[in-house]
């Protein structure tokens, strides 16, 4: 289980902001944690999947898409901030993500 440090948090945020700025062709300064991915950025689930692939590669994560899918059904992501939080949980817990629901 990876430990999330302040620098990991910053790095993830930077990657997510840059990703949506490029993909949705908006100025990065117009994105904040409350930005709605679908309503404000016209984003979609494919972008979410691509980001997961990027983080999987970057942090060498052992995580199945199916696990993330099951988690996302119960914890839907609507904003950039929620997406960052979920990515951090994925990095931290990998395939044990669903255990969070059992614990809570």
């Amino acid at each position: 289980m990876a430990k999330i440090t302040e620098s990991t948090r910053k790095e993830v945020k930077e990657i997510v902001y840059n990703f949506f700025a490029e993909e949705c062709e908006v100025d990065k300064s117009r994105i904040n944690d409350n930005t709605s991915i679908i309503k404000d950025l016209d984003g979609d689930s494919l972008m979410f999947l691509e980001l997961i692939e990027i983080f999987k590669k970057k942090y060498n994560l052992d995580i199945e898409l199916k696990v993330i899918g099951k988690y996302a059904v119960k914890h839907p992501v609507a904003t950039i901030g929620q997406l960052i939080d979920m990515q951090l949980l994925i990095i931290e817990h990998e395939n044990r993500l669903l255990e969070l629901d059992i614990k809570s």
Binding site: E22, E23, G69
Partner: protein
């Protein structure tokens, strides 16, 4: 790691034999079929399913052509694809070889770009007329060896083909949404589907690492039909006043599936649900049994409440969190629904002769369950 359950591959042959009705096509029609398997694959449609299938197939060693409708912003789609593969190369998700091969991907509006395809999968709206017309346009301009597949979730392939439309190479390939997450495909064969077509599609589905059920047209769309029985039971219980739509969905999410029956229908689209259910029950002797569900969907369609896409269906969107009380009969309702579902699973499994291990896995994938109906 293989995405196939250990038992499924060994059971597959038996499954086909029991449900199979394949006839051999004449040798001259076989000549131009791909000898070394399906490589060039076309996808038609840029909706949720078309884009989902296209994006899923990108991960495999295939040459893809994606045909989008005239309404699609093709420039934007092409640009996004280019950015995506560039990013994938930059961060090391793909290597140079894969990048070069992905650069050959064709994204266009011209169906003639599909000419050399070995397999074409259509994923356009669920409309018999539209789909038939598409296949009629495709047939004269596409390589005669190409297999035509429909991703329809409710229309049998024989309804979409005519005697002069390569019937030996006409099939159903029903992927499920979201394609990236649902490891299940319903492969529907007709009485005319050749053994070569079947074998090529089996290899293709193995190559793209998707578990599949091979079905004949009597048992086609078995997973949606199975869910239909739960949807019907749920609306009957609501109509009898035992609980509200929201309470019913809460009960289902708590006791059975990760999604509710009514929010599922809103998400698919009420109009699409209505058309699909009409197609499923066409051949049923007890059509009137489904009347309570059909008439509610007809009412919503008349009112323009087509689900999430119009802002209202069974629910109003965006959803506002409204706490609900659990109905007194929660345990009884949950038990009744579970028993209805379980007996439907057993009935469909017996009728279709699908091996229990295969059905168990398919049901698990479809409903997103941790444990299948046949696991203790």
């Amino acid at each position: 790691m293989s995405r196939f359950p250990a038992s499924s591959i060994q059971h597959r042959e038996r499954s086909e034999l029991s449900s199979g009705i394949a006839s051999e096509a004449s040798p001259d029609r076989e000549r131009s079929e791909p000898s070394s398997g399906i490589q060039k694959t076309g996808i038609i449609g840029e909706g949720k399913m078309g884009s989902g299938i296209f994006n899923y197939l990108l991960d495999f060693d295939l040459e893809l052509t994606w045909i989008c409708s005239k309404e699609a912003d093709i420039g934007k789609i092409q640009k996004q694809f280019g950015k995506r593969i560039n990013r994938s190369l930059e961060v090391g998700i793909i290597d140079e070889n894969k990048y070069r091969s992905l650069q050959k991907t064709i994204i266009s509006r011209e169906i003639s770009d599909l000419y050399q395809c070995d397999l074409i999968i259509e994923a356009i709206p669920e409309d018999i007329g539209l789909k038939r017309s598409l296949f009629e346009q495709l047939h004269p301009v596409i390589n005669p060896g190409c297999i035509f597949a429909s991703n329809s979730s409710s229309i049998n392939p024989s309804i979409l083909s005519t005697p002069d439309l390569r019937q030996d190479k006409f099939i159903g390939l029903h992927f499920f949404y979201p394609v990236a997450l649902k490891n299940i495909v319903e492969f529907t064969v007709t009485a005319q589907t050749s053994s070569t077509t079947r074998s090529l599609i089996h290899s293709f589905l193995d190559k793209i690492q998707r578990f599949y059920l091979t079905l004949n047209e009597r048992n086609s769309f078995i997973l949606n039909k199975l869910f239909l029985d739960v949807q019907l039971e749920a609306i009957l219980i609501v109509n009898e006043g035992h609980c509200s739509y929201q309470q019913m969905d809460e009960i289902i999410k708590k006791h059975m599936f990760p999604f509710g029956v009514f929010d599922f229908m809103d998400s698919v689209g009420i109009d699409t649900m209505l058309v699909s259910i009409g197609n499923y029950i066409t051949g049923y002797p007890n059509k009137s049994y489904y009347e309570p569900l059909v008439s509610k969907l007809q009412e919503l369609v008349r009112e323009g409440k087509l689900g999430m896409k119009t802002g209202e269906g069974f629910y109003k969107y965006p959803l506002e969190p409204t706490p609900t009380n659990e109905p007194l009969e929660t345990a009884g309702i949950a038990e009744h629904l579970y028993q209805s579902w379980y007996s439907a699973v057993k009935r469909f499994t017996a009728q279709s002769h699908i091996p229990i291990g295969d059905m168990n896995f398919a049901v698990k994938e479809y409903f997103g369950l941790e444990k299948g109906p046949f696991e203790s």
